[in-house]
C-alpha cells in the first residue's frame, strides 16, 4: 500500500507504484480543486490534516478494500496546504487482474475517505472563506 500525505500530488508516482505484471487494470481517481462552489468563485483551498490519524484511517479503509476485492496494489495520497483551482489534491488508485474490482474499489475508497479521514478544507472565495461541511 502507498498511503501518505504530501505537499504536491505526483500522478506519475502513483501510476508507477500501481503497475504490476499481475494486473490487467489500473484505476486512478484524481480529485482536483474546482473553481466554483454553490454559486461562488473559489480562488483557493487550504487543506489541513491530523497526520497520524489520517494515515491510520486511510489504512483502515485500504484494509477493508483488500478484504472486499481481489486487488493487486492500492494507493491513497492526499495533499495538504494551499491549493489553487485545477490542482490535484487527492489520488485514489488500485490495480487488479480485471477491471470491475478496480472500478468498484476506487469508488469505495474515495467515498470512505470523504466520510472518515481527518482532513479539512477551507474554501476561499472572492470576499470570504468557510470550513467546508462545518455547519449544518
Amino acid at each position: 500500500m502507498l498511503i501518505k500525505l504530501v505537499e504536491h500530488i505526483d500522478l506519475n508516482e502513483a501510476y508507477a507504484y500501481l503497475q504490476s505484471p499481475e494486473a490487467g487494470a489500473v484505476n486512478l481517481f484524481v480529485g482536483t480543486v474546482r473553481n466554483h462552489s454553490k454559486g461562488k468563485n473559489v480562488v483557493r483551498l487550504d487543506f489541513e490534516a491530523y497526520d497520524a490519524m489520517a494515515i491510520r484511517q486511510m489504512e483502515h479503509i485500504a484494509h477493508d478494500a483488500f478484504k472486499q476485492w481481489p486487488l493487486v496494489k492500492l494507493a491513497m495520497i492526499h495533499a495538504v496546504g494551499a491549493k489553487e483551482p485545477g490542482v490535484p489534491v487527492v489520488i485514489i488508485g488500485v490495480s487488479s487482474a480485471h477491471r470491475d474490482a478496480s472500478f468498484e474499489a476506487c469508488r469505495f475508497l474515495i467515498d470512505e475517505l470523504k466520510k472518515t479521514v481527518p482532513i479539512w478544507k477551507k474554501e476561499f472565495y472572492d470576499d470570504n472563506s468557510v470550513w467546508v461541511n462545518a455547519h449544518p
Binding site: F47, Y50, A52, H78, L113, K114, T116, I119, A134
Partner: protein, 79 residues
C-alpha cells in the same frame, strides 16, 4: 489532559492544543465534549463533533486518561 484541535475548532478556540485542568474531573469522552461545549459555545453549532483517542474515533462512554493522545475532530471535508 491535552486535547489537539484542527480546522474550525482551532479557529473557534484560538488554540491548536488545549490543556484541561485536572480538577475539571474529566474522565470520559462524553464529559470532555460537554466541558468543551461549555467553555466554547460556538462548538455546539457544528454539524458534528467527534473525539479521537490515539488516532481512532472514540465513543461517548469511552474512558480518557492523560497519557492518551486526544483530539477534537470537527466535520471532515477531505477529498
Amino acid at each position: 489532559m491535552k486535547v489537539l484541535l484542527f480546522g474550525i475548532t482551532r479557529e473557534i478556540t484560538g488554540q491548536s492544543r488545549i490543556n484541561i485542568p485536572e480538577n475539571a474531573g474529566i474522565n470520559t469522552v462524553k464529559a470532555l465534549k460537554s466541558w468543551l461545549g461549555q467553555q466554547y459555545p460556538a462548538l455546539q453549532s457544528l454539524s458534528s463533533l467527534a473525539i479521537a483517542v490515539d488516532s481512532e474515533y472514540a465513543q461517548d462512554e469511552d474512558a480518557l486518561t492523560p497519557e492518551q493522545e486526544i483530539a477534537l475532530i470537527p466535520p471532515v471535508s477531505g477529498g
